[in-house]
């Protein structure tokens, strides 16, 4: 199998997942498609540095995350961060909210969570990456991944509770 066939065989099956993540990151189909195409083009050019049989998904998501971070930086903003005081409400008006939330609510609540935290939560809960994979995709230490996931979920809980109350 030549290089081009090997690339397509490894990468094209990831298209649906990549688009899903790109869509959640950019929040519109047009930007998501641009991001996916740019990611695959970049991956194609870097394919010689990819070792076949290793984690192709994590490799592609790393490229995509880097592209998006660069794009945001060019537009003059880094991904949003917020100062959190404490860990947010530990328990529970939110508890019921999560249980009774519809998909629409969850999607809308996600949009209120700053990107740093949201990306970590999405990579863990939607894409099912391990902490160390997420660390390598986002380029942060695993401890930071744990803290971002924790805070991301706490903010999501708050947002859902706010929506319900």
């Amino acid at each position: 199998m030549n290089r081009d066939d090997a690339f397509e065989a490894e990468v094209l099956p990831q298209l649906r997942g990549l688009f899903g993540m790109a869509y959640r990151l950019t929040r519109n189909a047009h930007d998501a498609e641009d991001l996916v195409q740019e990611t695959l083009l970049r991956a194609y050019r870097a394919f010689d540095s990819y070792r076949p049989g290793t984690n192709v998904r994590a490799w592609l998501y790393t490229i995509m995350n880097r592209l998006r971070t660069d794009a945001l930086r060019r537009r003059g903003r880094s991904p949003q961060t917020v100062e959190l005081v404490g860990d947010g409400p530990a328990v529970s008006p939110a508890h019921e909210a999560v249980i009774t939330s519809g998909r629409e609510d969850v999607s809308r609540a996600l949009e209120t969570v700053p990107e740093h935290f949201r990306d970590a939560v999405l990579l863990r809960d939607v894409e099912d990456f391990t902490y160390s994979e997420i660390a390598s995709i986002l380029g942060v230490p695993p401890g930071t991944v744990m803290s971002r996931i924790h805070r991301g979920r706490a903010l999501l809980r708050e947002a859902l509770a706010g929506r319900k109350s």
Binding site: G17, F19, A90, H95, I99, V126, L156
Partner: protein
């Protein structure tokens, strides 16, 4: 163990192991707040997993395939196959450039070209060989010692004759009432032992090594060429004599 919310997150995600895990589980059994956090995080996970995947835009896979096809680099084998004919032409060109018959043909053609014109396309007009030699010296080319005349042929002038490889060959004109003769200084090496003579395009062409130069002599009459070459050799020999004396 006191409450550690991040450890609860780690427990939910299954990344705690061994003693850490056992300790956190024990804490959870006793702490309602942490138990509730774990429960909520599990519910959030479930809710996020349940989010429907956004629909893939129609034709995305086709667009991606086209994009990748456009980005393809030709493989080294394909590059080699594409360059092969070009390389063959270059090698052939270089080989032909060093081939005496090819050079003879080219000089014969240049001779006819110049002498067929109503007025010779000379850049310098002189009957004195030292004037011609000086003119070329100023343009970075040393000529061997040329005669002012040979039999009926008289030195007339010279020009820089453009060659196919973009270099130039000094082209010196001799003429009599009934014939013309060209002397060329060939600007590159040619595969030949000491000399080469042939008929080409109706002319006689001789290629002769003289000192460090390769000289081409072209005229219609073979005898005139032979006589001129021997005259040249004598001039060069005469040039060598003073140092030998």
């Amino acid at each position: 163990m006191s409450c550690d919310a991040e450890r609860v997150t780690a427990l939910v995600d299954g990344v705690l192991e061994g003693a850490d895990r056992a300790e956190t589980e024990t804490h959870l059994a006793a702490c309602g707040a942490c138990r509730a956090q774990a429960e909520e995080e599990r519910e959030i996970r479930a809710a996020l997993r349940g989010l429907p995947a956004p629909e893939l835009p129609a034709g995305l896979e086709g667009r991606v395939r086209r994009l990748l096809r456009g980005a393809r680099r030709p493989s080294p084998g394909v590059v080699a196959r594409r360059l092969l004919p070009l390389a063959a032409v270059l090698v052939a060109g270089l080989w032909l450039r060093g081939s005496a018959p090819v050079v003879a043909w080219e000089l014969s053609r240049d001779h006819d070209h110049c002498f067929s014109k109503a007025k010779l396309p000379a850049e310098v007009w002189a009957g004195d060989p030292s004037v011609i030699a000086e003119w070329f010296a100023e343009r970075g080319r040393q000529l061997p010692l040329l005669p002012a005349s040979a039999g009926q042929l008289m030195l007339v002038g010279a020009r820089r004759c453009p060659m196919p490889d973009l270099s130039f060959a000094p082209h010196v004109y001799y003429a009599s009432a009934r014939s013309q003769l060209s002397v060329f200084l060939v600007p590159h090496d040619v595969r030949l032992e000491q000399h080469f003579a042939s008929r080409s395009r109706g002319n006689t062409v001789a290629l002769v090594r003289m000192g460090g130069s390769l000289v081409g002599v072209v005229a219609e009459d073979p005898d005139e060429v032979a006589e001129f070459v021997s005259r040249l050799r004598t001039s060069v020999a005469r040039l060598d004599v003073p140092s030998a004396r």
